[in-house]
């Protein structure tokens, strides 16, 4: 019953507790093992960071400098072309790269915020209201978590094309509003985080159900809200199959699909169509917003991503 709440408090007081625990544990630790542990972590960190390092280095190179450079693949060349590459992103094909970036933002924001709002409302209802069919609804929801969403992409495409909505932003945004896992997470969290007594007390005082939701439930659900928002935003930002299927107009593509097209063209095409330097620089610029968001929102996601997994 207290599981979700425990996670939350533990993430909040994590720093203090961590240092206390570490102090206690240090007594039981032996020198060599800690060196071994650190060495292992160092190796792991290098493995996970090398591709990014390559991307940072690669985005400072010219198109030909990526093949033959003084620095090799993992070091800078003498020539530092990062700013030229960024400038070229503004001019190549009329600066379409920035249109893609804007599209990605629109899709991620609309899909993320929209699906989170729906999930919070639905999760709250499933946790705190008793109504006929609730258990059936919840079983259906749990089953749907196991439905691979990509299996829905092709029928969704056919349906949307019959409605004439293919090749519009709606074709990406509307299906992205669906997040059964988000509803599940909010429901699990809300069961413990919102005491029934608090709602009942509010009702006795004459508060309406909408007011109870906005004044009592919503503040208590904030950690779940932030977590689901993060998960759904990342999912929409990363989505590839859906936009690849439902969009044809280059002006509507998200940056993921757009960069993939540049890569395909650069591989197939002759000299003029090879824009390797723009692919590396574009990829670097496109991942910066999410990395900055994750580093900035650490205290939210570190405890939150495990919501629903701890019983």
């Amino acid at each position: 019953m207290t599981t979700a709440t425990t996670t939350q408090t533990s993430s909040r007081g994590a720093d203090r507790r961590a240092s206390r625990r570490a102090g206690r544990r240090a007594g039981g630790q032996h020198g060599p093992r800690r060196i071994g542990s650190h060495l292992f972590l160092l190796l792991a960190a290098v493995y996970f960071i090398v591709p990014l390092w390559w991307l940072v280095v690669g985005s400072t190179k010219t198109n030909s400098g990526l093949f033959v450079g003084s620095g090799g693949a993992l070091w800078f060349n003498d020539e530092f072309a990062l700013w030229d590459n960024v400038k070229e992103l503004f001019t190549y094909q009329g600066g379409i790269y920035w249109t893609w970036m804007r599209n990605s933002f629109v899709y991620a924001l609309a899909g993320g915020v929209g699906s989170t709002v729906l999930a919070v409302l639905a999760g709250y209802a499933l946790a705190k209201y008793r109504f006929r069919g609730r258990n059936l609804y919840f079983s259906l929801l749990l089953g749907s978590v196991m439905v691979p969403l990509t299996a829905l992409t092709i029928p969704t495409f056919v349906l949307l094309s019959q409605l004439g909505m293919i090749n519009t932003m709606w074709a990406v945004v509307l299906p992205s509003l669906l997040s059964p896992i988000g509803v599940y997470l909010v429901r699990v969290y809300a069961v413990d985080a919102i005491p029934d007594e608090m709602l009942d007390a509010g009702r006795v005082d004459g508060a309406g159900e909408l007011r109870l939701f906005s004044r009592v439930a919503l503040p208590l659900l904030r950690p779940a809200f932030v977590t689901v928002l993060l998960l759904t935003t990342v999912a929409t930002w990363n989505n590839f199959f859906l936009p690849l299927a439902v969009l044809r107009d280059p002006q509507l593509l998200p940056v993921t699909v757009g960069l993939n097209q540049w890569q395909g063209l650069s591989n197939a095409g002759a000299g003029g169509e090879q824009v390797w330097n723009l692919i590396t620089t574009g990829a670097l610029v496109s991942i910066l917003p999410l990395i900055v968001a994750f580093l900035g929102l650490q205290k939210y996601w570190q405890g939150g991503l495990s919501l629903g997994s701890i019983k």
């Binding site: 699906s115 199959f241 570190q302 997994s309």
Partner: protein
């Protein structure tokens, strides 16, 4: 995940419910449905309807042979798909990916989380973040980057292997592409799984370890006999995520295709096969059959897994 059975639900009804269904409760029932309504609309329109429509499409056939008309052909498409060597070999391939990739990912994630849990140094905090960073990178970009790194033209492999006087292996060749894809997905997801496991480890009451230590348990015993069993439910959850994700494998092989065309056919995974049937051959009925068959197999697979591990996960 069947939280209908969670202990919280078995708690005796509050004073409000004991009175039986009063007028107020009926009114409140409607509020429950009202809060559910927006999600339900999306759930019906973008999950139930496409699912039902995919099933309908799979029971029909439309093409030159039928004069461009859509005619009912029953389970003929399913008879075709389950004898289609392209579909079956794709299924076998993603099955092999599950068997190889999921244990590697979970093993690595749990190992890193266990090591991090025993340390509270600056290096351990920094490496926790660095390991997690790939999760923030879209799969397309991740696959693009690794495609560059694998490439004999751009990548460091030639230089690195040259140092010891060897020829670099071609990571994008038919023989090595499987391992190269395993590496990309592992790189992408281990950090996310690690964070989930790590949070579960932090939630364990440390006094448990002290009791074990008094009983003479060493660090290894504590990690394997106490920590791992206590985080079993988190591990079941991430295995299910990994299982569902791997069976739907699409993005990474699709992106790598343009740099390793010989090694990755359009039928490499069932999802890629469905995509090419739909968008290269306009066979939407057959593509829907593939998608639906894949969906059923994924559903059955994850259901069986959850059933087999119901003790460990605490699900019933």
């Amino acid at each position: 995940m069947t939280s209908a059975d969670r202990p919280t639900d078995r708690r005796p009804a509050g004073p409000g419910e004991q009175r039986g269904p009063s007028l107020l409760d009926t009114k409140r029932q409607w509020w429950g449905w009202l809060f559910l309504a927006p999600f339900t609309v999306v759930f019906v329109l973008f999950l139930l309807v496409p699912l039902a429509y995919a099933f309908w499409l799979s029971l029909h056939t439309k093409g030159i042979a039928t004069g461009g008309e859509s005619i009912f052909t029953g389970f003929a498409n399913y008879a075709r798909v389950f004898t289609d060597t392209d579909f079956l070999s794709g299924m076998a391939r993603v099955g092999k990916f599950v068997l190889v990739m999921v244990p590697i990912q979970i093993g690595l994630a749990v190992t890193i989380a266990l090591v991090l849990d025993t340390l509270a140094t600056r290096l351990s905090r920094a490496s926790r973040l660095l390991v997690f960073v790939p999760y923030a990178i879209p799969a397309v970009i991740g696959a693009l980057m690794w495609g560059f790194l694998y490439s004999p033209r751009f990548g460091p492999a030639t230089d690195v292997f040259g140092l010891v006087g060897l020829d670099a292996p071609d990571f994008l060749s038919r023989d090595l592409i499987f391992g190269s894809l395993v590496n990309i997905v592992t790189w992408q997801w281990v950090g996310y799984y690690m964070i989930i496991v790590y949070a579960a480890l932090r939630a364990i009451d440390p006094t448990v370890y002290e009791a074990a230590r008094l009983d003479g348990a060493g660090n290894w015993a504590i990690a394997l006999r106490i920590k791992v069993p206590m985080i079993a439910s988190s591990m079941v959850m991430i295995v299910v995520f990994a299982l569902i994700g791997t069976l739907q494998f699409f993005t990474e092989p699709t992106v790598l295709r343009s740099v390793a065309q010989g090694a990755i056919p359009t039928t490499y995974t069932p999802n890629m096969y469905a995509y090419s049937m739909a968008f290269s051959y306009s066979q939407f009925n057959y593509a829907s059959t593939i998608a639906f068959a894949l969906g059923i197999l994924v559903f059955i697979g994850s259901y069986l897994f959850l059933y087999a591990t119901r003790k460990q996960s605490g699900l019933k």
